[in-house]
């Protein structure tokens, strides 16, 4: 039976629908702000100013966005293969170990530009390995990857607490963190980049990882739409039966895709550890793995959608922190509520406004709707 609604033009699919969802999310968030007795318009003003008001604020926003680009890409790559990787959090956490081992070993010996590629490889390898186990279990044993990756988040957290408290902590220190890295393991900041745009930045954690994230976004695009592997992943993602028919190995797809996904999630560890704090602390991932799911949903699993979606979530983090500081009635938890609403409308309820928008389009300009579906038997 034909679908009553034809496909939307691409720009509406990828641009208009997310914007509509976002506007609704902010309207509902506004009601929440109103309920706690603050002016929603003022709050919105503070939030936007806090995120983009100055070079300093933009730098912070992009720093947070860097984390979300990596984890968003990780989720998106798995989505294209029909897999739901909820384990980005744990994969990034374990990947921190790879970064730290490289940094602690070489920071006194090598310059940063040699430590940097080694650390990328180590982070990606650790993330990929942590994703490999659930992938193997899914491919060979049929254990559902959603369940196993969630469990591996907990395992990762426990392992890292043990390592940080009992192994990596320098003797005599009270804090569960590694020693500070020397200059050979400190990534350059991107202050110059914003200053070149005429913005002033005092000191902000935005660092080279941001550019790495953009490069990875481009490479993911190439992978998905321009390589044989990406073609096979998408075939498997849309139809495992068609993949089998095309001679594509199911277990190879699951394992390779999950390792790429885990590797991308792992690279997230570069940003806070090598780029900002120059040591590894407990829980440095801070939920970025989960935000990546929302980012991938909102960005429609397309790298060029994920980057803006990650910046949006970066802005919510940064602007939200300012808002909590400026408005006494709005606590950090309120910010989490707003983020939750964005995830709810942009992610879970992604299709809520689609029929309405489609009807609208069909009535305004039927031509833009292209050829409607006339598929299947007896259409």
């Amino acid at each position: 039976m034909s679908t009553p609604f034809a496909k939307l033009p691409r720009w509406a699919d990828y641009g208009l629908i997310p914007v509509v969802n976002l506007v609704v999310a902010f309207l509902v968030a506004g009601v929440v702000v109103l309920l706690v007795g603050e002016n929603p318009l003022d709050a919105a003003g503070i939030l936007v100013k806090g995120a983009f008001g100055s070079g300093q604020n933009i730098a912070y926003t992009l720093f947070y966005a860097t984390n979300f680009i990596f984890t968003g890409l990780a989720v998106a790559v798995a989505f294209h293969c029909g897999l739901f990787n909820i384990g980005g959090e744990g994969q990034a956490y374990i990947a921190g170990l790879g970064v730290v081992v490289v940094c602690l070993s070489f920071d006194a010996v090598l310059p940063w530009w040699l430590t940097f590629p080694l650390a990328i490889l180590a982070a990606a390898a650790m993330g990929a390995l942590w994703a490999l186990i659930p992938a193997y279990l899914q491919a060979k044993r049929g254990s559902h990857i959603v369940i196993t990756t969630i469990m591996f988040n907990f395992i990762a957290a426990s392992v890292m607490v043990y390592l940080l408290v009992d192994v990596l902590k320098p003797a005599g220190s009270m804090a569960p963190q590694t020693r500070d890295f020397l200059e050979g393991a400190q990534l350059p900041k991107l202050k110059w980049m914003l200053e070149a745009l005429g913005l002033s930045v005092r000191s902000a954690p935005l660092n080279l990882s941001f550019l790495l994230a953009l490069v990875m976004a481009f490479l993911v695009w190439v992978l998905i739409w321009r390589t044989r592997l990406g073609y096979e992943m998408r075939t498997y993602g849309f139809s495992p039966k068609a993949a089998r028919y095309a001679g594509i190995s199911e277990s190879r797809m699951i394992i390779v895709t999950m390792m790429i996904s885990g590797g991308l999630a792992g690279m997230m560890a570069m940003n806070p550890i090598m780029g900002d704090q120059h040591h590894m602390t407990l829980d440095f991932v801070a939920g970025a793995g989960f935000v990546g799911i929302a980012v991938a949903l909102m960005g429609r699993s397309h790298p060029f959608g994920i980057v803006p979606a990650a910046i949006l979530f970066g802005a919510l983090y940064q602007g939200g922190a300012e808002l909590a500081f400026e408005m006494p009635n709005i606590s950090r938890d309120m910010i989490v509520i707003i983020q939750g609403l964005v995830i709810l409308f942009a992610g879970a309820l992604e299709h809520m406004f689609r029929p309405a928008v489609q009807t609208l389009f069909a009535s305004i300009s039927p031509r833009s709707m292209g050829v409607p579906a006339a598929k299947g038997e007896g259409a």
Binding site: A242, G370, V371, P372, E377, A379
Partner: protein, 509 residues
Amino acid sequence: MAGPAIELIGINKSFGTVRANRDINLEVERGTIHGIIGENGAGKSTLMSILYGFYQADSGEIRIGGKTASIRTPNDAIAGGIGMVHQHFMLVENFTVVENIILGAEGEPLLKRSIGKARSELQRLEREYGLDVDPDAVIEDLAVGLQQRVEILKALYRGAEILILDEPTGVLTPAEADHLFRILRMLKDQGKTVVLITHKLREIMAVTDTVSVMRQGTMVATRRTAETTVEELAELMVGRRVLLHVEKGKASPGPVKLAVSGLTVRDQRGVVMVDNVSFEVRAGEIVGIAGVAGNGQSELIEAIAGTRRAQSGAVMLDGKAIDVTGHADPGDLRDRGLAHVPEDRHHVGLVLAFEEAENSILGYHDKPQFLKGPLLDVEAIHADARDKIEKYDIRPPNDRLRTANFSGGNQQKIVLAREMEQDPGVLVVGQPTRGVDVGAIEFIHKRLIAMRDAGKAVLLISVELDEIRSLSDRILVMFAGRVVGERGPEASEGELGLLMAGVVKQEAA
């Protein structure tokens, strides 16, 4: 009630730019069997969906029994006495017959009484229409023909006076189809009205009183069945003269290309689907496997093509074994010259969400001509796709269009173009014309004959007996997983039908 059972006046329905129905007028007389025939995409199903409340017409009027009816949901249609038997059954597989019958019409929170009521009602229906089914049988244990009977009972239980059947015989044996037609005539004699949607001309001639022909969203003609011919209807459907019979010369079989011996395949539950099957296909011949759907043909070709594992037996391709019981890889088999047009093009042969060009390399995406290092050679892929579109007259000729947006016939041409253009030595084809319009069927049949004449070995399975008979040089009949007979193309329909129904004992193979 007075007046015709159904009157549709000036029905219009558009999806985007496509006008699926334009100014449709239709009058179905009470107590008749009215056929609606047309190619896929002609708008038959849309029209019936409007009548049954799935869609709303953009304009126009529906009258039931002479009174204007507003049908906004299927419930309105049911309340108006309309019942529908869908092409794909809407039954809960692991419920019993009686549970399925009351589904949605339970009436009260506790089931005991409504089940009791349904039982006595079923007995009455059985008496009146000869529709006997064991009320306590579980649906998945029933033969397809019986499942369809349950669908009909479901509609009657809800008080249907008008019964719409959408392509009801696609899954039936000739004998089961005949039985269905007897039931339909009995319903007619009891004063019910039957609307039969089909693309099979023979059925129209066999059972209907009146026939309406649709083409490209319009109603082009209505005829008394007794006053028309198959040729006239085919021409009305397609808009030009159609060759209903395939013209082909004598086959000149060459060496054996594909040899199957003692092949046994079990399904996931361990049930034997293919039971010790042996046959050969030679170069330059078409071997057709006839059989009612579900008698092991699907599993047979899947095992040969490497998409399903066999339990025992051997398959030789060009004298070399295919590892059918182990790790036969469809990719390797393609390299060895075995192409496969799968039965289910929607889920297996194509990825509907892909662009046309992406599907035109499925399974051949690792061929060097489509690759530039690790990257796909996008230009070469699109050039190749456009080439195939032209050669196979795929419409619309747009290699960037989503595959789901092509009609069934054109989707099938995409698959055929892909598999045939690789110049395989052996072509395994499942249901080449299922859900394909008459014009495209003619094209596909010609292509298959051309493959044969070019010296390829073709193994064909189809539930359309006519297709098997007109294309095959040899016909094997499968029943319950076994090959129960081999016949020449001159075998009569009745003879093959008996073999398909398992009536004739297995001959010495």
